[in-house]
Subunit: 419 residues, 2 copies
């Protein structure tokens, strides 16, 4: 079978599995999930063997130590994956829930009900546990899923998906509700994106090239897990000690994640006092600063002069751009222009100024006196996460179970005609 | 300015207007809407003159009488448009409403709040009143809008949009929150669809060629107002008189609309009695039937033999395809395969069978003992409608004010860091 035919076959199978999965009860789906966890552990030898082959190949191709660590599975990590599946089984099932019910003057009873989306395509470039996480969240919400992972983890992903499929099938779930693209060919991404006949939603998680390929070719809705260029604004009325703590947390704890900050904006009125404290704290963490002329005038020439590009770069590294602003309006305008509308925060003791910021900054998550690092399904209390949507439609911010559902209107009548 | 530059300029202006419009209070937006209604009436001479020129051109190009009637404006129709604007001003504003509020164990207060989408592009091929309806619904929800109407109504649309912009500006709303593409060039649709930097959502309303162009090129979310291939299933436990009434209502009252039915499926157990009654009622309405072999065996060769294409054709005309099915499963399978997942209905007196149908048919709106013609924003009690979404993400079924909003998370803390 050539690649196009293989992708089409995946699509057809998923589309056929979806209506068999969607009407299942929560108990049936949960039984399937628990069996999937068991199957993953039962298949541990095969999964670890496949993973060892991936790791060996990666080593030959001289992937970085960090990449190798992300790729590597062991008994403990498999145990965590299985526990993750059981945790999802324990979560509430949003499917079937009523969002709104009302009766029209003509007696029609309208009920807006949560239902599965149908077939969800997930394209990712990350560690093999995403294969399990994504498949399990889709199964819980009654969605068939087509997975496409990174080529460096292909054997691991195939082994994991195989175990999950076997577990699903053992309890009567359609095995085809979980499918993994077994071809490493990059062309597969374009073919998936064009297959709107069989896929209702595509969620790409990865770098610019992957996202651009999906956006350019997709004929169906796409929800992107994309850039996070998050910004912290230290207001003139800020508690400066709190501002330093939040800046350090948001920049330094995990600089490589999307909810870390890349820029700090400082109100001119507090710049003289704050900039020195910020510089000291950042230096202690090994963070290199890029500042505008005003920042350099205060902190000295050890601070690199920020270029225009620095304001719009997601460093994902121990680098921080710092700028002095004249007022709240300038801060908001900077965030709207350079930010990625992911997570932005104001530190201020003035509630009126905070509310203006929260109201006017158009980002998925806006914070007052808190670190941007809380933009996360777990931190929100969602119990799971399939990604952080940087899009505005359907899902914004952390995407969990509810965001993997849509709704339909169920209308019960007694013979009403419109006439 | 060439076309590409002109479209880009529209995009930039709309993007600049959006953050000025979004934070306005409901009172400010409503004052703008009332001024828009007044301006439309004040400009009536200019609007009617522009419309007369469009109608004259259309007559020269020998458009059908029905098309001419759709295009033509008069004092009364302008009055209805102005009343429509005032009615939208009187509706509740969904923006700012809280969808969910909770507090995390660390004290963070999370509020999921409705906000405008940003910039909405609406591409349509219908009567000039859509220009006003679409602009007004977007203004009410704090969205800047870029409109692109049909070329045959270009002068009318420009005059209407001009009046609305003047009314908006007179009360301090940014005039650029309403923009109309003044170039008839079809290439404008592609250029709009590619402009994801400035447009957050595109809503195409029109024929297959328009929708295909938008879907092929769009880089931003698209919510389609597309086909309606609606199906009525007459169950073995149906009240047959009710079934005939519903079939006639759903097929004949306005055969050209998307919520009219195209196919009736009949359970074999009631086919002997029902088919004759259906045929008689449809004949009285001038409806031509296309039946499968079993239908023709009962109703005679006056019924055209249905081809495979008939089951998937949206006739939009006094034509009806009729098929006998052996059971509920076959009916559901037919609807899933041939229907457009818009609006489908079961007539049955058996609640268990009704619930199975409502549960298993994956359409935007599923009915029990009612006509599919109720799929409409007004009939749902939404007070307005920008279209019927035939997509599954973000909005499904009638799209009104709520569907023109998205949400953001507003998080208030006291210095929390994730650590």
């Amino acid at each position: 079978m050539d690649l196009a035919a293989a992708i089409l076959d995946h699509g057809r199978r998923a589309r056929a599995a979806a209506p068999a999965l969607a009407p299942l009860s929560t108990a049936q789906k949960n039984a399937g999930l628990l069996a999937m966890a068991d199957a993953l552990l039962a298949d541990r030898a095969a999964v670890l063997e496949a993973n060892a082959a991936d790791v060996e190949d990666a080593r030959t191709r001289e992937l970085s130590g960090a990449m190798l660590d992300r790729l590597r599975l062991d008994e403990a990590r498999l145990g965590v994956m299985a526990e993750g599946i059981r945790a999802v089984a324990a979560l509430d099932d949003p499917v079937g829930g009523s969002l709104r019910e009302w009766t029209r003057p003509n007696g029609l009873k309208i009920n807006k009900v949560r239902v599965p989306i149908g077939v969800v395509g997930i394209i990712y470039e990350s560690r093999p546990n995403v294969t399990s996480d994504a498949a399990v969240l889709c199964t819980k919400t009654g969605n068939a899923t087509i997975l496409r992972g990174g080529s460096e983890a292909l054997r691991s992903n195939l082994a994991i998906a195989g175990a999950l499929r076997a577990g699903a099938a053992a309890t009567g779930l359609p095995a085809d509700c979980i499918q993994l693209i077994g071809q490493a060919d990059r062309e597969a991404v374009r073919l998936l994106a064009e297959m709107d006949r069989y896929i209702d939603l595509i969620v790409p998680r990865g770098g610019t090239a992957l996202i651009e390929t999906v956006v350019r070719h997709a004929r169906m809705p796409v929800i992107k897990h994309y850039h996070g260029l998050c910004i912290l604004y230290v207001d003139r009325a800020a508690d400066l000690a709190m501002a330093v703590d939040i800046a350090v947390d948001a920049k330094c704890r995990r600089p490589g994640v999307c909810n870390a900050i890349e820029t700090v904006l400082v109100h001119r009125a507090v710049a003289p006092e704050f900039l020195g404290r910020l510089a000291e704290a950042m230096e202690a963490q090994g963070v290199g600063l890029r500042g505008d002329a005003e920042v350099r005038a205060r902190l000295g020439e050890g601070v690199i002069l920020a270029t225009e590009a620095d304001w719009s770069t997601e460093f994902l590294d121990l680098k921080l751009a710092v700028k002095v602003v004249g007022d709240l309006d300038e801060a908001v305008a900077h965030i709207e222009h350079y930010g990625s509308h992911h997570s932005d925060s104001i530190v201020t003791a003035d509630p009126a100024r905070a509310e203006r910021f929260l109201h006017e900054v158009d980002s998925a998550t806006v914070y007052w006196n808190a670190s941007t690092r809380f933009t996360d399904g777990g931190e929100f209390g969602f119990g799971a996460e399939i990604g952080i949507s940087t899009d505005k439609l359907h899902a914004r911010g952390p995407m969990a179970l509810e965001e993997l559902t849509t709704y339909k209107y169920v209308i019960r009548g007694t013979g009403q005609v419109r006439g």
